[in-house]
């Protein structure tokens, strides 16, 4: 009985996202402040100030998945944005001008929040938004860690920026920053992050109850709702569902559809081609069990510890050195008992691409797993070919099979 009353995590996700977009539009209509923010920024500050925030990367992904990215891209390119720039940026800049999408709609911002722990690109992209819209831009610059860990002088600098940001937020909103509330939000954000991570870890079971493409869906919520109880409840429900499936020995797909190989996905999804990329793997019994996504939002620190918070935000794998990047994937391979890695050479994202070849070599050398790199793009539909993708996956499948055969022979 009780089971039936619980709504599924999928429904919770849909409700949460619908409400996310709706409430932002309403807030704007009511004259409340709205911010645009990068996807892994210290949202704690905005949540504390109770400021509505939307995430252009998420929104661009939704537009991509709805297969309507091209018109926004065309708009941006028509204004002189190069085809070589990140397609999230091109979609978002196009959206800023067109201001309507079938997928979802977001209000224009009153100010902007940008954290370059994910790339330098967002600094430039958001700088342009702020200039075009003539609104304030709050930047968190998180120096690239060419060392394995985050150095202390970088932590000091980042902490200084958080303090600056609080002052600016007070000025922009005309409200005082409530430090008690800040602690609560910190605590909640950590709990939600941990639950997101815990849910994704259930995929360690063999077979994995999780079809990793679901990570791409649930990711929307960890971006938008990390600081909220609703986010926590959603991931808790998702985890329960996955655990139930795992306990019943159920795999990622329908009964009878065997998980033959377990792989991870490095990089962002190809939103306009979710179907073909998914099927290309699934039809060959390859399950994407995990990816670099879970850890990207596993941002953990002690409540009240602003230094720790800065360190955690700066510790995103793309903001750290090669050794860390390799260790990160090697650990996933071991923890999730993976047979291979699918690397997305994403035309949009130079920061993820230009280390990929070396990461691939080192990961293969250290773990003996096989891997494949395919060319694509997260939202630009012109930069991906299903046929080429399938050819790459066929070659990958052969490698996976050979490896299995070799291991069987011992």
């Amino acid at each position: 009985m009780e089971q039936k009353e619980k709504i599924s995590s999928k429904e919770m996700l849909n409700n949460l996202m619908a409400n996310h977009y709706k409430s932002a539009m309403e807030a704007k209509a009511n004259g409340e402040l709205v911010a645009w923010s990068t996807s892994i920024a210290p949202q704690e500050l905005l949540e504390t100030m109770d400021i509505k925030v939307v995430y252009p990367e998420n929104h661009a992904a939704a537009i991509g998945a709805r297969k309507e990215a091209q018109k926004f891209i065309d708009d941006a390119e028509g204004r002189g944005y190069s085809i070589d720039l990140c397609s999230y940026a091109r979609v978002n800049i196009g959206y800023k001008n067109i201001q309507y999408a079938d997928a979802e709609n977001i209000p224009l911002p009153d100010f902007i929040f940008s954290c370059d722990n994910i790339c330098h690109t967002v600094l430039k992209w958001y700088e342009n938004l702020a200039k075009d819209l003539n609104i304030p831009l709050i930047v968190f610059d998180m120096p690239f860690n060419h060392t394995y860990d985050v150095p202390d002088h970088a932590v000091k600098y980042m902490k200084g920026q958080i303090e600056e940001a609080i002052k600016r937020l007070e000025k922009i909103s005309g409200k005082k920053f409530d430090h008690d509330r800040f602690r609560e939000v910190m605590e909640q954000s950590n709990k939600t992050s941990q639950m997101w991570k815990d849910a994704s870890m259930v995929a360690k079971a063999k077979p994995s109850p999780l079809n990793g493409f679901d990570l791409f869906n649930y990711m929307a919520a960890i971006v938008t709702s990390r600081g909220t109880k609703e986010g926590y409840e959603l991931f808790k429900r998702w985890k329960e569902e996955l655990e139930e499936k795992a306990a019943a020995g159920l795999g990622p797909w329908k009964p009878g559809e065997e998980e033959k190989f377990r792989v991870m996905w490095d990089g962002i999804a190809c939103w306009p081609y979710l179907g073909p990329t998914y099927k290309g793997l699934k039809n060959n019994g390859i399950n994407m069990v995990t990816s670099t996504y879970p850890d990207s939002w596993t941002i953990l620190y002690e409540t009240g510890d602003v230094d720790g918070m800065a360190r955690a935000y700066s510790s995103n794998y793309v903001n750290r050195n090669l050794n860390y990047g390799v260790d990160n994937i090697v650990n996933l391979i071991n923890e999730f008992s993976l047979d291979g890695v699918v690397f997305h050479s994403n035309r949009s994202c130079k920061l993820m691409d230009f280390r990929q070849y070396e990461v691939q070599r080192e990961v293969e050398e250290r773990t003996g797993v096989v891997s494949v790199i395919f060319d694509g793009d997260q939202t630009d539909p012109r930069a991906f070919s299903t046929e080429q993708y399938n050819t790459r996956i066929q070659a990958f499948l052969e490698m996976l099979e050979n490896r299995k055969e070799e291991r069987r022979k011992g």
Binding site: G80, D84, A89, H120, N128, F144, K156, E164, R347, R355
Partner: protein, 375 residues
């Protein structure tokens, strides 16, 4: 006049044969440290008794670097990595790189694996550069880098040595600022290519020696009569203006570079250093005070206005954007300043360039039509 030509030819030679120039420095017993693009703490290298030299790519075939980089990486960095792997840079005693863009962040990591034979010092400049914590951060970075450099040099850097190096660099920067203004007087002698080569030479010389030579050239220019010029005067914008064949096209079409907004040229020296504070602080403030630079974050991008003012001050006829293909930061700036230049009715030519191009002919044609349109 013959003297002036000779003096200019000397610097041109340095720029045309950098390897020879660097070998010359080494033969004097000095150590040399390679400087990746863009802005690095050269003063510290100099204070450690070593000579910083530029690493701004070159016209080279890419083979080895393909092991690390997809084809959509900027040509400067592909060339640098290629030459590093090939051993072209083995004469360097060290290399410094700062992670100004996403490409540099990655190549910083690739380089460690691909070119292990040269001591490597990665560093980071802050982007949120106008707040006090950023100044403190830079000071901490400088002192970390200094310790690394001291190991390579086998000496200790003192405040006096830093002070002396700062003086050398401020003198060099002042001389360069003066030089670029003198083009107006001799637009033929200091044609687009010569101007570039003279400035480029600074990357492969002891800055003190370079400044002396440049000052001598400027004295001769000041003593000479002004040249008649009825060609086109432009401001060039971008990272740099190579291949040289591109500059030949400027010269052939009687287009003079009257001012530049290039990372490789004026952006190196246009920000005047402050006079108060320690040397580290003055170095940090030169970064904090820089304006209109794609590689340095600015909340209210001032680049468009900067270019408009530059056109006005230099009485240029228009702007030529030399867009280094695959350079994200520059590519982001363009759509913004494009609108501002259009509104200010400044004529503009946009060209995509790569260091190694199959053919510059199409660009030549475009430069020609632009010049015709402006004349």
């Amino acid at each position: 006049m013959a003297d002036l030509k000779n003096m200019i030819a000397q610097l041109e030679q340095v720029a045309l044969e950098p390897a020879k120039a660097v070998a010359g420095i080494k033969s004097e017993g000095k150590k040399v440290v390679g400087m990746f693009p863009l802005y690095l703490p050269e003063e510290i290298v100099y204070a450690a008794g070593m000579i910083p030299v530029g690493m701004w790519g070159g016209q080279t075939e890419i083979k080895l670097a393909d092991r690390y980089l997809q084809s959509f990486c900027c040509s400067i960095i592909r060339a640098d990595l290629e030459m590093g792997m090939r051993g072209t840079y083995n004469m360097l005693d060290g290399v410094i790189m700062a992670t100004y863009c996403d490409t540099l962040k990655c190549v910083c990591e690739d380089w460690k694996v691909a070119v292990p034979q040269i001591p490597f010092i990665p560093m980071v400049y802050p982007q949120n550069r106008n707040i006090q914590p950023a100044i403190e951060y830079m000071k901490a970075e400088f002192s970390r880098v200094q310790a690394e450099l001291e190991k390579i040099a086998g000496t200790t850097v003192t405040e006096e040595k830093l002070e002396a190096a700062w003086e050398v660099y401020e003198a060099y920067r002042a001389a360069c600022r003066k030089f670029v203004k003198l083009v107006e007087k001799m637009p033929k002698t200091l044609n687009a290519k010569t101007r570039h080569l003279i400035l480029k030479a600074s990357w492969f010389m002891d800055k003190k020696v370079y400044t002396e030579k440049l000052n001598a050239i400027m004295e001769a220019i000041e003593a000479a009569p002004a040249e008649e010029f009825n060609g086109t005067k432009v401001v060039v914008e971008g990272i740099m203006t190579e291949p040289l064949a591109l500059l030949d096209a400027f010269v052939e079409n009687n287009v003079c570079i009257i001012a530049d907004d290039l990372a490789h040229e004026s952006r190196q020296f246009r920000t005047v250093g402050r006079t108060e504070g320690t040397v580290y602080e003055r170095m940090a403030y030169r970064i904090a005070d820089a304006k209109g630079d794609a590689l340095l974050y600015e909340e209210m991008k001032t680049k468009g206005q900067f270019l408009i003012d530059l056109v006005k001050d230099s009485k240029a006829d228009g702007v030529v954007v030399c867009m280094m293909k695959f350079c994200d930061p520059e590519e982001y700036d363009y759509p913004i300043f494009k609108v501002e230049l259009e509104e200010a009715k400044v004529p503009m030519l946009y060209m995509e360039i790569e260091q190694k191009m199959d053919s510059v002919e199409p660009l030549k044609t475009r430069i020609q039509s632009f010049a015709e349109m402006l004349s």
